[in-house]
Amino acid sequence: MRDLAGIQKDFLKSILTAENKTGQPQPPAGSSEAGESSAAIYRDLVATNHLNALKDVYPVCLRLLGESYFSFLAWNYLRDRPTADPDLNRYGHDFPGFLEHEAGVREELGRLGYLPGVSRFEWSLYAASRSSADIIPLEETISRLTELGDKDTVLFRLNPSLSLMEFSCPVVRIWEENRLPEVGEIVLDRVTEKVVVWKNMGDVLYRTVDDESFNLLRLVREGAPLRELNRIYENREQDLERLIAQSISSGWIVGVKDAVR
């Protein structure tokens, strides 16, 4: 007789390992063939549930890969990287990493070099849409900044929903085109695309930004105080004050505090 831990281990194995023939749950009464059939039902329910969760998050990846191949990868992802998180809404956060790995071992995916980037972009949009962090109103941030003046120890707070991504191909363009019924021609030239995704007043937004804006946000994310920002931007063409003002008005910087207090 197996204990509960053993039963659950066997049950999971019967779902995640299609070939597994041992430890199958007992078939319903009167049906000698039904053991594998019932495991198949659970396998199908679990696979469908997780596949649908991925489809919701990655609609353009689904379109790029096609229904059948996407389903194949979704099953492999579930089997190879099962989650411990009870919240299905967070399922698929490391699907981009999985695609990146698969692209290295599957020739057919290697041809879609932009796919991991598209998936990262889609996850960022989804994560921003679900972000529930309270955003400090713009007026409050400006007023606090005015109060603190240009003290060296001022620290900025990024919008918690904000993602910063850097791509080496036109990922945003690919994503935009593939959401339309007819996909236009896209030149897969090597570009460096810096993208910000964030949620502001309930809307999910994205923008490709210049190097200076991107770097400022990266430094703020790393916790650089105003003193360090002043030093870095001292000899640059871009005006730090203008960049900070733009970041606040865009809803990227949503708070400010004095690190000393």
């Binding site: 999971l12 659970y42 679990v46 989650t83």
Partner: protein, 281 residues
């Protein structure tokens, strides 16, 4: 020990429906005549402030029940207190008349598969699950209801009937029972059991809520699909349950291929008519 809430807040409630996104605006604006609404906790666990405020406002017009799917009560893994803390925050904020979870497991050994798997029905499981339900109730500071789930497999390690299994866990933990009548029908079909006897074997004083939903046939089983109207056989079994348990808050479940609100209200009306015919209320 906590007690099943049948007389104070929940005792007057009849049929309710699940609050689902496609109907949210209509319910807020039109305030249809419905006794109560069910909120799936997992759908709002990360909800932003405006969404929670909307629910709080709705709470002024409708009693709410909070139903969760992610606790994995029967798992051998430790309870996930981050998840339970999130549920507790929702309980404190929405003040539901009932809080419920499934008598099942969804993952173990560090894997969560987001489904409701059946448990072997024996003394080891009763002890294990009753202890966990007790800890959850202590953490929430209130009673929860545990719901019988549909099953498509059994275990040779099972030693007792399903009604005995759920009753023992409820009695030992002090929880109530959320009796899913559709799941009783499904398991009776799938395993060749007597559905009426199942209902008769459940102590009435433990039943704090009932569920009704539509099923789907597949590969010799009936699945708990929640994608269609309630089957006639399930209405019949519900009539028997109402005759036995009296007026109990009853949810019309419909989670897939969600229809117009009127269809759900029509199903709720059917449930209310059965309650009226059996209980005169």
């Amino acid at each position: 020990m906590f007690e099943t809430d049948r007389s104070s807040r929940a005792g007057y409630l009849r049929a309710g429906i699940g609050l689902r996104d496609p109907h949210l605006r209509r319910i807020i604006e039109d305030k249809p005549d419905i006794d109560w609404l069910e909120v799936i906790a997992d759908n709002i666990i990360d909800a932003d402030e405006p969404a929670l405020s909307r629910l709080e406002k709705l709470r002024r017009d409708y009693p709410l029940s909070l139903h969760s799917v992610g606790t994995s009560i029967g798992s051998v893994d430790p309870l996930n207190f981050d998840y339970l803390k999130s549920l507790k925050r929702l309980i404190e904020r929405l003040d539901p008349f009932s809080v419920s979870e499934h008598l099942c497991w969804s993952g173990a050994h560090g894997v969560h598969l987001h489904d409701l798997f059946p448990l072997p029905m024996n003394e080891e499981t009763v002890r294990h699950v009753a202890g966990r339900v007790g800890r959850i109730q202590d953490f929430f500071g209130r009673q929860i209801l545990i719901e019988n789930v549909s099953a498509y497999t059994g275990f040779e390690e099972s030693e007792m009937s399903e009604p005995e299994f759920i009753t023992q866990i409820a009695r030992r933990s002090g929880s109530g029972i959320l009796l899913d009548v559709n799941n009783i029908f499904i398991n009776s079909y799938n395993f060749g059991l007597d559905a009426v006897k199942y209902v008769d074997d459940i102590p009435g004083e433990l039943v704090g809520e009932m569920h009704l939903g539509g099923g789907e046939q597949r590969e010799g089983f009936i699945l708990d699909a929640h994608n269609c109207r309630i089957w006639d056989e399930v209405w019949g079994l519900y009539g028997h349950a109402v005759a036995r348990f009296g007026t109990v808050p009853t949810l019309i479940e419909w989670d897939n291929d969600i229809p117009e609100l009127e269809v759900l209200l029509d199903e709720a009306d059917k449930a209310n008519k059965i309650i009226e015919s059996k209980c005169g209320t």
